[in-house]
Amino acid sequence: MSFHPKMAYDATFHKSSRTLADPGPAFVFTPENRARLDAIVLRYPADRKRSAVLPALYLAQSQQGYITGNAMVHIAGILEITPADVEDVVTYYTMFYTKPVGRFVLSVCRTLSCAVNGAERVVEEICAKLDIAPGQTDATGTFTLIEAECLGACDRAPVIMVNDAWQELQRPEDVGALLDALRAHGEAALTGCHHVVEKK
């Protein structure tokens, strides 16, 4: 390795863009969630507990809202893997949040079939109504907007995933009504999946 005289070898030299996971508050699963996880682990071979890492992370996220460093350490302990193994998974998959999110996470599908049906306008309207950019949470902590890739409901475009539920055929002009309805009625305000004929 050669050292160039003009290079600044000061404190600013080594710049890693890697951000360490926020350790957050102390984390243990509630007894209910722990029991759920223990039941899920049994679905996999005894020496393959690691397979339960995705379900474990979903449980942690439902319990705490997002995944912290302490949650990763706790899960790693249960599944007998390293915290780095868990972090590796958390940072790969898009459905895990490593920072707090709003009460409603609006994942607007932006891929082709939704886009040609106005998804870009839906995002635009949400941004304008909440005064945020994609990836941000509004000032009241109610809504987080995410531009998602294909959600697999292209015939009911544009589609928004709100937390774990669906809103289909969302017209840009009705975005205000959707936000108001969510504030007032929560997820019950959503149209849901159109395949469910029983509720009509």
């Binding site: 679905r43 071979p45 393959r48 690691r50 397979s51 339960a52 890492v53 995705l54 379900p55 992370l57 979903y58 599944l79 893997i81 193994d85 590796d88 998974v89 790969y92 998959y93 898009t94 459905m95 895990f96 994942s107 932006r110 891929t111 082709l112 079939s113 886009a115 040609v116 049906n117 106005g118 870009e120 306008r121 995002v123 635009e124 941004c127 950019a133 994609p134 990836g135 531009e147 998602a148 890739e149 294909c150 959600l151 697999g152 409901a153 292209c154 015939d155 009911r156 475009a157 995933m161 774990d164 539920a165 669906w166 849901g192 999946c193 395949h195 469910v196 004929v197 029983e198």
Partner: protein
């Protein structure tokens, strides 16, 4: 053709076990266990000509036959319910409205290859579907269609649902297995194929939802009946997901002798283009396949028919685009997808999709140069065929085929310094933090 798989999906409570049993449910599993050996089931599926519905169209019976039976390790069925290919939403209908057909298919597949466990890997966004599926599995287990000693035959079978968490790449069979093992969804080098070294290093068959849903039909009606539906070597009912600028987007079941034109314009299908517009292009098999033009629409919507027309049937998710669609914008939109979803394992794909997207974005915003067009083609050639899985080839396809058919649109963007075809459904201002 009368729908078979989706015949009852619009009826109330079609997802319940009682409904399924009223329509002959689990009779195929009973028949398979009582009067066929596992090898006979594999022979039946081979004779039926059933081809995988996930995208590649590989014969299912052969896939099962490749499963290493000499190995002393356990064997597994992994059902691919990731359904992540843009424009595809057919498996969703099966899982939500006819879940027992899939569960019965999983059980028969387990019996055929000698597995005791089937994992259904469902994408994280289908949480509402997962509830239906898990309830259906619990109901089937309570009635003895799953669990130990099914129908008193000594055959044990469990089906579990495993929820993904938002990764397109998990739909690739080896990446799916990695994800099931609790790792990043990144593909493995092949060979060895999953049939020999799959889940947990054990022989595994990875099959799409629609593929497994066809298996009970083959057992029930016989391979000849199945092969007689549709053209030769493209037998059986097929689900088509059609979206985009059509009047009636949705999932349609047809035999594979239907043409793309019928699917798009037919009265019982999509009923033509919206707002009296004309059709500009169709991506027939999910976003990863070459674009077809109006003159190709007479092609048969079968594996071989679409191949002959210059594209691929893929997952049979057709995205139909009208004349308001700017093709440079389309390539940019899809490359945004591929750039985001590239798993990062192979350098050509990880870096190349980002470069392609940056260049396309530059051209779309009127800042491109003519030499960018050669650069796009050159990067495309450096990615295609140089990655572990087919993602790389899929990612360059939208760029290369739009360049091939719509080069004049690219040139117009560069010449005019802007996109002259901003449709009213597009954002007024460029959006996104990207």
């Amino acid at each position: 053709m009368e729908p078979i798989i989706t015949k009852h999906v619009r009826e109330p409570n079609s997802f319940t076990l009682d409904f399924y049993l009223r329509h002959g449910g689990y009779e195929s599993l009973k028949k398979a266990l009582a009067s066929h050996t596992p090898d006979q089931i594999i022979e039946m599926v081979k004779a039926s000509g059933l081809r995988g519905r996930g995208g590649a169209g590989f014969p299912t019976g052969m896939k099962w036959q490749f499963v290493d039976k000499k190995s002393d390790k356990p064997r597994y069925i992994a059902c691919n319910a990731d359904e992540s290919e843009p424009g595809t939403f057919k498996d969703h209908v099966i899982m939500e409205r006819n879940p027992h057909l899939l569960i019965e298919g999983c059980a028969i597949a387990c019996y055929a290859i000698g597995a005791r466990i089937a994992y259904i890997y469902i994408r994280g966004e289908f949480f509402h579907v997962q509830h239906v599926l898990e309830q259906a599995i619990a109901d089937a287990r309570t009635r003895g269609f799953l669990g130990t000693n099914v129908f008193g035959s000594g055959f044990d079978c469990e089906v579990y649902v495993h929820r993904g968490a938002g990764a397109y790449e998990a739909g690739e069979e080896t990446a799916l297995l990695e994800s099931l093992e609790g790792k990043r969804a990144q593909p493995r080098n092949k060979p060895p194929f999953p049939a020999v070294v799959g889940l947990y290093g054990c022989p595994t068959a990875v099959n799409n939802v629609e593929t497994l849903a066809n298996v009970p039909l083959i057992v029930q009606h016989g391979p000849e009946w199945f092969a007689a539906i549709g053209p030769e070597k493209n037998g059986g009912p097929k689900l088509y997901s059609i979206s985009g600028h059509v009047k009636r987007p949705g999932v349609y079941e047809a035999s594979m002798d239907v043409t793309l034109k019928e699917l798009i314009y037919g009265e019982q299908y999509c009923q033509g283009m919206r707002d009296g517009r004309t059709l500009k292009a169709v991506i027939p098999g999910g976003s990863s396949v070459p674009i077809l033009l109006p003159e190709h629409l007479d092609a048969q919507a079968s594996f071989d028919g679409v191949l002959k027309a210059g594209s691929m049937l893929g997952s049979a998710g057709a995205i139909v685009l009208d004349d308001t669609t700017c093709m440079v914008w389309l390539a940019e939109n899809l490359l945004h997808f591929y750039r985001h979803e590239s798993c990062g394992k192979c350098t050509p794909c990880r870096e190349g999709t980002d470069w392609l997207h940056k260049i396309l974005r530059r051209i779309e915003h009127g800042e491109g140069q003519m030499r960018d067009l050669d650069l796009l083609a050159s990067i495309g050639a450096q990615i295609g065929g140089k990655t572990l899985c087919a993602f790389g080839d899929a990612a360059v396809t939208p760029v290369l085929t739009t360049l091939k058919h719509f080069r004049h649109e690219y040139e117009a963007h560069i010449r005019d310094g802007r996109c002259s075809q901003v449709a009213d459904w597009r954002a007024r201002q460029p959006i996104g933090a990207h």
